[in-house]
C-alpha cells in the first residue's frame, strides 16, 4: 500500500466539517445512488424537482467516503440549486466541480466524477421514472461521469466476487 500526501484546501475542509444539504430527503422527486462501499465511496443523491418548471428546487446528499467525496457531493448539491434540469445537465461537469471546490489532489478527482455521476444518474432516472421521453439535450449514451460510476460499480462486483472465491478456497483449506 502506498500513501500520498493529501493537503486538502480550506473549502474542502469546510464542506467536510460543515457539509451543506446533508441528509436524507423524504419528499425527494428522485433518488439516485452511485459508487460502492467496496471501492471506498458511495453517494446517495436526492433531488426535489419543480415539475412544471423543470427546475431543481433543492438537492441533498448522503455519502460514504473520504473528505473529498463528502465535500464534492456537498458542493454539487449547492451548484444545482435553482437550475433547470437542462442547465444542470449541461453545466455541471466534474472539472467544474473540481474548480468550484478550489482544486483536489489528483487521486481525488474521481470523487468529483462520482458526485456528478450521481447527479446525472438522478436526472436521467427522473425522466425514466416519470415515463417522460428523454429531452433532446440528454444524450442516449452515458456521459463520462456516468460511465465512470458504472465502471466503479463493476469493479466492486469483480472485487467481491474475487474475495468470495478466495474465501471459499480458504474454507476448503
Amino acid at each position: 500500500m502506498s500513501r500520498i500526501p493529501l493537503p486538502y484546501n480550506p473549502k474542502v475542509m469546510d464542506l467536510f466539517r460543515h457539509p451543506k444539504n446533508l441528509g436524507k430527503m423524504d419528499d425527494a422527486t428522485v433518488v439516485a445512488v452511485a459508487g460502492n462501499p467496496a471501492c471506498g465511496d458511495m453517494i446517495t443523491f436526492y433531488l426535489k424537482i419543480d415539475e412544471t418548471e423543470q427546475i431543481i428546487e433543492k438537492a441533498q446528499f448522503e455519502s460514504y467516503g473520504c473528505a473529498a467525496n463528502i465535500a464534492t457531493s456537498s458542493i454539487v448539491t449547492e451548484m444545482v440549486k435553482c437550475l433547470t434540469l437542462e442547465k444542470a445537465w449541461e453545466d455541471i461537469t466534474w472539472k467544474k466541480v473540481t474548480e468550484e471546490i478550489g482544486g483536489l489532489p489528483s487521486v481525488k478527482f474521481h470523487c468529483g466524477v462520482l458526485a456528478v455521476g450521481a447527479l446525472k444518474r438522478a436526472i436521467r432516472q427522473y425522466y425514466k421514472e416519470k415515463g417522460i421521453a428523454p429531452p433532446s439535450w440528454m444524450p442516449l449514451d452515458h456521459t463520462f461521469e456516468e460511465k465512470q460510476a458504472l465502471e466503479e460499480e463493476e469493479l466492486a462486483k469483480t472485487l467481491s466476487k474475487r474475495l468470495k472465491i478466495e474465501e471459499e478456497k480458504k474454507a476448503e483449506k
Binding site: M1, P19, E62, S63, Y64, I70, P105, V107, E167
Partner: protein, 407 residues
C-alpha cells in the same frame, strides 16, 4: 497544494490535548533520546569512524558501543552480527535481495507469509523479475501463519523464508521458533529471515533462541529516531550487498555511518529494555483500556487480529463499520487524536490493507479500519481523552453516511 497546509494546521488551533497513536508510521522521539543524540552532530564523534584522526576514532568507539548494545538486546553472539541500515525498509530489502543474490544457483524459491509488510512483499515480488519464484503462505482469521502449508511449501529449491515475528498491522505474534524448526527440518540450507520491527521491545525476541538467520529491527518503532534500523545476520550466513560504495565499519552497508542516529537508536533500545516487563505490561493495560472503551461506547465494530496474549501488547486495530477510514482520521485529527487508516486512496478505488483482506475482512470492513499503537510514554489520561473524542467523531462520520451503503 502546500499552501493549503497552513490553513489545515490552523484548523487544529485550540486543541487541548494531543494523543499520537500512529506509531506504525512514525513516532515521537522522547526528549531523553534527543538529548543523547544532539552532541554527536557537532560536539563530538562527528568524524568518519574509519579515519585516522581523533573525531574518527571517537566515532568508531561510540559506534562499536552501539553495535554492542543492539546485539546484546537481541541476544546476538557477536557485535558484527548487527548491520545498521537507514531503516527497516532498507533492512528488509537487504535481507530479501541480499539472500537471493548470494544463493543464486543454489535454488530459486522465496517463501513468505501473505501478510508480510510491503517492504518484504514487494521486494519478493520484484525478485521474480530476476528469475526467482515466490510463494505466499496463507494465514488464518487471526493472522497466524499456516505451518502445514509452510512445511509443504519449503522444498529443495527454497533459498529463503521470510515471516515477521509480529505483524505490523494486527499484532499477531507468529510461532517463529516452530516455523524455523519446520523449515530447517525440510531444508537446512534455507535462510530464515524475520522482520522483528514490531516484536522488538514489545515481546521477548532472542535471535539465538529462535534460531533465525536474519532479523530486521527498526529504530522509530521503539521511539528512536527515524531513518535508522538494523539487521541481524547470523555468523556464517552469506549475504550480498545491495548497494555499493565506501565500506566502513560494516561490510553489508556502504556509506558513512550516521553516528547521531545510531546513538539515538541505541538509547531508545536501552530505554525499551530497561524495564521491559513493566513497559509491556503498561502498553497492554493502556491498549486494553482503549479497545474495551471503544467497544463499550460504539456498536458495529470488528476487532482485527488475535485477542489472546499472542498479540503484541501495543497494537489495537479496529474496523469501524459504516465509517470511512480517511474521513475518520481527519475528524480525529481535528480533535488532537492521530491514527492511521488501513486503506489508502489510489486513482480509482480505495486500496484496502492486504493484511485485513488476508484475514477475511471484506473491503468495507477494511476501509473503516483504524490502527493505533500505544507506547510506554502514553498515560491513562491520554486513553481517556481518546475515548471521549472517538465516539463523537465516529458518530459524526456515520451521520454523513446516513442510509448510504447500509445493506
Amino acid at each position: 497544494m502546500v499552501e493549503n497546509v497552513k490553513e489545515l494546521l490552523k484548523l487544529h488551533e485550540g486543541i487541548t490535548h494531543e494523543v499520537y497513536l500512529d506509531n506504525e508510521n512514525s513516532s515521537i522521539v522522547p526528549q531523553e533520546v534527543v538529548e543523547e543524540m544532539v552532541p554527536y552532530f557537532s560536539k563530538k564523534a562527528y568524524g568518519n569512524p574509519t579515519l585516522t584522526h581523533k573525531p574518527g576514532w571517537e566515532a568508531f568507539e561510540v559506534i562499536m558501543n552501539c553495535f554492542g548494545k543492539i546485539s546484546k538486546s537481541v541476544g546476538a553472539k557477536n557485535l558484527e552480527d548487527i548491520t545498521f541500515t537507514p531503516g527497516e525498509t532498507e533492512a528488509n530489502n537487504l535481507a530479501i535481495m541480499g539472500s537471493c543474490f548470494a544463493q543464486k544457483g543454489k535454488g530459486k524459491k522465496i517463501v513468505i507469509s501473505e501478510i508480510e509488510p510491503i517492504n518484504v512483499l514487494q521486494v519478493a515480488e520484484m525478485m521474480q523479475k530476476f528469475g526467482f519464484t515466490m510463494q505466499k503462505i496463507p494465514v488464518n482469521k487471526e493472522g497466524f501463519v499456516n505451518l502445514e502449508k509452510l512445511k509443504e511449501a519449503v522444498d529443495n529449491e527454497t533459498i529463503l523464508v521470510s515471516i515477521s515475528a509480529v505483524n505490523n498491522e494486527i499484532g499477531t505474534v507468529q510461532p517463529i521458533k516452530e516455523a524455523v524448526d519446520i523449515v530447517k527440518a525440510k531444508n537446512p540450507n534455507v535462510i530464515f529471515h524475520s522482520d522483528a520491527s514490531d516484536a522488538y521491545g514489545r515481546i521477548p525476541f532472542n535471535v539465538q533462541e529462535l534460531n533465525v538467520d536474519l532479523a530486521t529491527l527498526s529504530s522509530y518503532k521503539i521511539q528512536g529516531p527515524r531513518g535508522m534500523g538494523a539487521m541481524y545476520v547470523k555468523e556464517g550466513i552469506n549475504l550480498e550487498r545491495v548497494l555499493e560504495g565506501q565500506i566502513g565499519t560494516q561490510k553489508l552497508w556502504p556509506g558513512v555511518e550516521n553516528t547521531p542516529l545510531i546513538v539515538g537508536f541505541a538509547k531508545a533500545s536501552e530505554l525499551a529494555f530497561q524495564n521491559f516487563e513493566a513497559n509491556a505490561a503498561k502498553m497492554r493495560m493502556l491498549r486494553d483500556k482503549l479497545v474495551d472503551g471503544m467497544f463499550s461506547e460504539l456498536d458495529d465494530l470488528r476487532f482485527n487480529g488475535p485477542k489472546s496474549d499472542k498479540r503484541s501488547p501495543d497494537n489495537a486495530n479496529v474496523s469501524i463499520l459504516r465509517a470511512e477510514g480517511e474521513a475518520l482520521t481527519i475528524e480525529l485529527s481535528l480533535s488532537g487524536v492521530y491514527v492511521s487508516s488501513g486503506s489508502a486512496c489510489s486513482r480509482r478505488l480505495l486500496q484496502p490493507s492486504h493484511v485485513l483482506i488476508a484475514i477475511g475482512r471484506i473491503f468495507e470492513e477494511a476501509h473503516g479500519s483504524i490502527l493505533m499503537k500505544v507506547t510506554r510514554s502514553h498515560t491513562e489520561e491520554d486513553i481517556a481523552y481518546v475515548l471521549r473524542v472517538l465516539p463523537t467523531a465516529v458518530n459524526r462520520i456515520r451521520g454523513i453516511v446516513g442510509s448510504t451503503g447500509v445493506h
